[in-house]
Amino acid sequence: MASVAELKEKHAAATASVNSLRERLRQRRQTLLDTDVEKYSKAQGRTAVSFNPTDLVCCRTLQGHSGKVYSLDWTPEKNWIVSASQDGRLIVWNALTSQKTHAIKLHCPWVMTCAFAPNGQSVACGGLDSACSIFNLSSQADRDGNMPVSRVLTGHKGYVSSCQYVPDQETRLITGSGDQTCVLWDVTTGQRISIFGGEFPSGHTADVLSLSINSLNTNMFISGSCDTTVRLWDLRIASRAVRTYHGHEGDINSVKFFPDGQRFGTGSDDGTCRLFDMRTGHQLQVYNREPDRNDNELPIVTSVAFSISGRLLFAGYSNGDCYVWDTLLAEMVLNLGTLQNSHEGRISCLGLSSDGSALCTGSWDKNLKLRGMAWHELL
């Protein structure tokens, strides 16, 4: 058996050759990429979407959290929203009536993510406790008025930054973690079915901050990480990532599949959003903000979401801006942060209802805001 020192040498040599291959790939890609989405669309004569001030009104502010809102998720059906906050609670809201249907006190108040189960009957959350806790919304509160946890998924060696149920499967859930891995869980047994990354090669080399499952092909999901890459995974093959997407220059805070499942959008600490093609790996478009007049640092993108058709890309920023980008023309058509009644702090999360009719944004100002999309069938 080769000695440990020899193995280490081989490992270092292998890493070096991988890095140089990667660099060659990047250069080759650049020569192949002759245009981006924006130039192409303009060449086709497309014009930007235009908005009336009434098209995206703030219909409601959801107040109730006593700490910053960190995460939110919609149910696939009933128009309920679950939000997680620094105050250590999950609140379930009925988006139509603004009523709070549940307020769940968490055992570990440092929660970073929350998600609704496909049937709307359970919610999952995770955070600095390195575990993902599941609550069944129909359970009875105990003597102290607290909702009991129905299951805790432990095994991660770092904080849980993101979680999402596999669509149409109440029993499976994927988490992304600060330990650089993503894990597919069986909720009923609490066991890990697969681990993506970590000791297995081609995993992320830094904290995973977000993930998104492809709704059209639920075997595929992407994860965005502090290592500035996005990786595509196949649930059936945990041993290696299908593809790695380079381009961003900072931590990737948010990833979201495009509605057609062939592309995805990302938001990052480098202040840009990008659109990538899933199969080819090409970076199709960069959504760059205008630099600020005072030359301050660019605000970072904290969260992204697409409209139903994908024509609009919503991006929340750390300075409270919420840009609505025209995906094709790479133009910012509306900044929700400048409208009346907008958030007073960083936008930490946002999401569209399943029918695309409403946008919910969560912020460090402790509120959530709902905005109706007047022409959502078209957009």
């Binding site: 440990v4 432990t154 060696k157």
Partner: protein, 552 residues
Amino acid sequence: MSSTTLVLNSSSITLQEGHKPHCIISANLNVGGALVQKASNGSTGILVNGREITKSELQILKLAGVQCAGKPHFWLNADGSYQEEGQKTVKGKIWDKPIVKLLSPVLSLPTPNKMTNQCGEEAINVVNRPEYLEQRTTQKLLLVGSGTSTILKQAKFSYKSKPFSMDECEDLKLIIQSNIYRYIGILLEGRERFEEEVLADRRKLCQHDPSSSGRPESGFCDEEVTEYSIVPRLKAFSDWILKAMALGNLEDIFPAASREYAPLVEELWKDPAIQATYRRRNELPFLPSAASYFLDRVVDISRTEYELCDIDILYADGITSSDGLASTDISFPQLALDLRVADELDPQDTLLRYQLIRINNKGLRENSKWLQMFDDVSLVIFCVAVSDYDEYYEDANGTVVNKMIESKQLFESIALHPTFEQMNFLLLLTKFDLLEQKIGKSPLTACDWFAEFTPLVSRNLIDGTSRSKRGSHNGASLAQMAAHYIGVKFKRLFHSLTERKLYVSYVNALDQQSVCSAIRYGREIVKWEEEKPVFGSSETVYSGDEPSSYSH
């Protein structure tokens, strides 16, 4: 008998029968009848709303400027205004004086919520609105750095009647059992490395001078046995463990199989080769000093019936198997503030609660986003082991790093993190005893950062003991001077980064008392911060320039 409810508007004070007041309830709550005179077992002879008040309440009233001579009977209204029973003139308001609100919690007495001040003026001029007046009455202290899990464990032992739950104990057992295999793995790796080094040296020696090696044994150069060699049977086991370590699934095999292999591990541990390796443990990264404590008892620990004792918990590496965040609530018993209070203290009464939160620095980087979640802590307690100055470890890229430099860099990144911009920092320096043991042989200058350490040392002091009273350090030993110097370097660093003052204290993490006084010091710092606007920031009174006494 359960005590009653929550905080709303003031007037009547609710309480557990026979105990001091717990909290204030609404003036309008129509429940039960009038309060019984002896409801809180007061012995002052002074009645408020028909209830004889306790001595601590009397102290507060006096501070509020209420004339209490002659055992008067008062009537206290919702807004804090009081008048003598039967009289119309309102004499004043007890909640108006800031000192009343500040000291009430110290004496474990309730104060009304901010919202209740009905005359509309902004409640108090205290700029740093004390936490305990709001809904949340918990002050958070963040523990970060090296050796923090030991400190948290000590806090749990000191302040909680049941420090660790069943689940937590099981978790700790798991940590201990799997760590044993990690330790033996590190030793095996080291053994292999040392063996190769010795063999390589021998080969070189033979090459240069094959004829006269000066050794009587013939075939010396063919000799493959060194002091680090083990028999083939053990070598096979060793290879298996090392392979598992390299593949990263050591934790999957053990501790499930630990009982089976424990005797083999014990044999390995007792083998002279491994013992020889252990003697050079300074060169083995990641081998904690407690490794021998557990390896000595490997068979015992691997049994299913193994029961943890407190020392096991203390020495275990880590506190939860995920090594994530761990926290514990602490309520302090009454401060003896020269206010003689005879009443019994119900722990539930203490409004002042502290939460010690320990985070793992493994994943902590300069821009770790999740640190933002701690923007509501009152104090950051950063722990550094002073014995780290000459210890090294290999990071993920294979670079050898000095542990003290690593601590310094972590300290810098946290001090500069935007979340902690105006936060107070307390530096806890631990493992002074280990420093003392080695400072004679290993100078402090082994660490680059301390290159300028030139203690005024007479010959008498070089061995670390102080026999001479000469010199400006009044007979401080070399170890003490070294530890002091480390504190000073951190203080200067902190000041250069933030222009603020770093609080420093020394702690022996294995001594419960020492940890308690460190935590109390932390609590003092938090209080001084709050009281600054009221009492003025008299730096000389509250913040000593010298770190507090060495305790070991």
